[in-house]
């Protein structure tokens, strides 16, 4: 067993001319809950897809438990994508059969107990379930594996607060303590309490990797507040209703001129 669970060196991924990941060097240990944080388009999903073997890197390499992504790493990685991946003719029971067949670390009893706690019928077809129920079922399946690495892509995006609590409690209550959980999200205040470590991704690069408590100790603020600072984009508008202290001095233009829109508007009217 390798000491570091994830090691990425010089990792790059391009889609055509667009670079999704520029140069990522990353090491993640075992027994941690790690937040992969960054705004939309910063490369979070790309990194996770590379880790679970759905994408191949353009350059650089990935080692998970010392191995390049392949059948072995897939057997120790439990992946929750940002979408539903079920064939909808299946029932919850069929899915359990499927997971039991392919993943040796799947704990069926645990999964069934969690479904029962939710009041989910095992013989109900996926097709007839609500979106929220499907998402919960998918999370239950993923968290019922005793995996080394859980890769959870945006598990709490677009859910109501009650569902968010269910999701976070399910993750906390069920992950394998010797394994590592990677949660990608841009909703930091919701997950900050459950994280050991955070990785900030900005435009395809890792700009900071640190523990939550170390950030709070040294910065005197929450990770959420730090995130807002790191990823701050200064808005520009004709009227800035509440200029804040920090951008008055450095960023405010001396004289606000109305944007040159007049010509376009005339052109539009003429048509």
């Amino acid at each position: 067993m390798e000491e570091n669970l994830i090691v990425c060196t010089g990792l790059q991924k391009r889609f055509g001319n667009a670079a999704a990941l520029r140069k990522v060097d990353l090491t993640v240990g075992r027994g941690k809950i790690v937040g992969l944080l960054g705004p939309n388009g910063s490369g979070k999903t790309t990194l996770i897809k590379l880790l679970c073997g759905l994408l191949q890197p353009t350059a650089g390499e990935i080692r998970i438990d010392g191995q390049a992504p392949g059948p072995y790493t897939k057997s120790i990685v439990s992946y929750l994508p940002d979408r539903m991946y079920f064939a909808d003719w299946m029932t919850a029971n069929d899915l359990m059969d499927f997971f039991e067949d392919f993943y040796k670390d799947f704990r069926r009893q645990k999964a069934e107990a969690m479904c029962a706690a939710l009041g989910l019928q095992m013989n109900q077809r996926i097709k007839t379930m609500s979106k929220g129920t499907k998402e919960k079922l998918q999370l239950i399946l993923v968290m019922s594996r005793e995996a080394q690495l859980y890769l959870l892509d945006e598990p709490i995006a677009g859910v109501d607060p009650a569902a968010r609590d269910f999701i976070l409690d399910t993750i906390l209550g069920n992950y394998n303590e010797n394994g590592t959980v990677v949660i990608s999200t841009h909703l930091i205040s919701d997950v900050e309490k459950v994280l050991d470590e955070v990785i900030f991704l900005k435009k395809g690069e890792v700009v900071r990797q640190d523990t939550v408590d170390h950030i709070r100790e040294t910065e005197g603020k929450s990770v959420d507040a730090l995130f807002r600072e790191v990823f701050r984009t200064v808005p520009y508008g004709e009227y800035m209703p509440h200029p804040r202290e920090w951008d008055c001095a450095a960023h405010a233009p001396e004289k606000l001129e109305p944007p040159a829109r007049a010509e376009n508007q005339e052109g539009g009217d003429a048509q």
């Binding site: 889609f15 055509g16 897809k49 679970c52 073997g53 759905l54 994408l55 191949q56 392949g70 059948p71 072995y72 897939k74 057997s75 990685v77 992946y79 994508p81 979408r83 539903m84 991946y85 079920f86 064939a87 003719w89 499927f98 067949d101 392919f102 993943y103």
Partner: protein, 276 residues
């Protein structure tokens, strides 16, 4: 692992196909009744009997189309769309995923063909037909003897011929399925219009392949027309030898196609997968 993959693949296919197979056989049986029993055939001026026959023809066409659509859809939706997120993160090799799908689709196509054959037999087989078939076979025998200067069809020829035909049939089914898979594996590389580019790729591959094959056939004299014109070589290898030579060659061509289609598909899905 390929076996496990096939288990789920076949399960999802059988859900749709068991009822279809059943329906074909039942409709064939009903047609047999209307053909056989005079009072039924002439009932209401024979309209129901005709409609029943039309229904049978439609059912046969429908099952062929459904089988084709299903083969494509199980791969396209099951591997290259959302379900791909599940399939490609299973602890199996890409090759196992491809063969799991391909062999399941082969079995499905094969059994469907068999069911159609059985339904035809239900429809038409009777003593007269068996008699006619026997006559046809002996006339075939005579024809062969005439052309081949007195060579006789040896014992055990027909079983071998049927076996070789089956092998060739299965090889051709596999080749055609992999042909479609390769086209879709190419199509998924595109960011947009994946389906359109898949179809385009299918057509281009077909054209390239038929150009190569026809020029090869023409230059080597392996066409069926050539074989029949120059039957003298049959004297050298005997009837059974000729049979093996003919089918062996065609099976080889199918296997070659399988190789040509499979390896790029595997490489594309392994290294260039681009799920939406």
């Amino acid at each position: 692992m390929t076996g496990k993959l096939m288990k789920y693949e076949l399960r999802s296919m059988l859900r749709t196909f068991l009822p279809l197979w059943g329906a074909i056989l039942v409709v064939a049986l009903l047609n047999r009744c209307t053909l056989q029993i005079e009072s039924l055939r002439d009932w209401l001026g024979g309209v129901p009997a005709i409609l029943m026959m039309v229904l049978y023809v439609i059912a046969i066409i429908a099952i062929a189309i459904v089988a084709l659509v299903f083969m494509i859809q199980r791969f396209y939706n099951g591997m290259l769309k959302d379900e791909g997120y599940l399939m490609f993160t299973l602890p199996v090799k890409t090759s196992q995923l491809i063969w799991g799908k391909c062999l399941s689709a082969t079995i499905l196509t094969f059994v469907t063909s068999l069911i159609c054959l059985v339904s035809v037999m239900i429809l038409v087989v009777n003593n007269d037909l068996i008699h006619e078939m026997q006559e046809l076979f002996s006339s075939f025998n005579a024809t062969v003897m005439y052309y081949s200067n007195g060579l006789e069809i040896p014992a055990g020829f027909m079983p071998q011929a049927i076996l070789l035909m089956l092998v060739l049939g299965v090889a051709c089914i596999i080749a055609e399925i992999l042909h479609a898979y390769l086209a879709m594996a190419i199509g998924q590389l595109a960011g947009k219009h994946k389906a359109g580019i898949s179809i385009l790729a299918y057509i281009l591959i077909s054209m390239a392949l038929s150009t190569v094959t026809s020029s090869f056939m023409a230059s080597n004299g392996f066409g069926i027309g050539n074989l029949l014109e120059n039957v003298s070589w049959l004297e050298d290898v005997g009837m059974t030898g000729g049979l093996w030579l003919f089918f062996g060659f065609n099976i080889l061509v199918a296997v070659l196609q399988i190789v040509i289609f499979y390896f790029p598909t595997n490489a594309l899905l392994k290294n260039k997968l681009n799920l939406e």
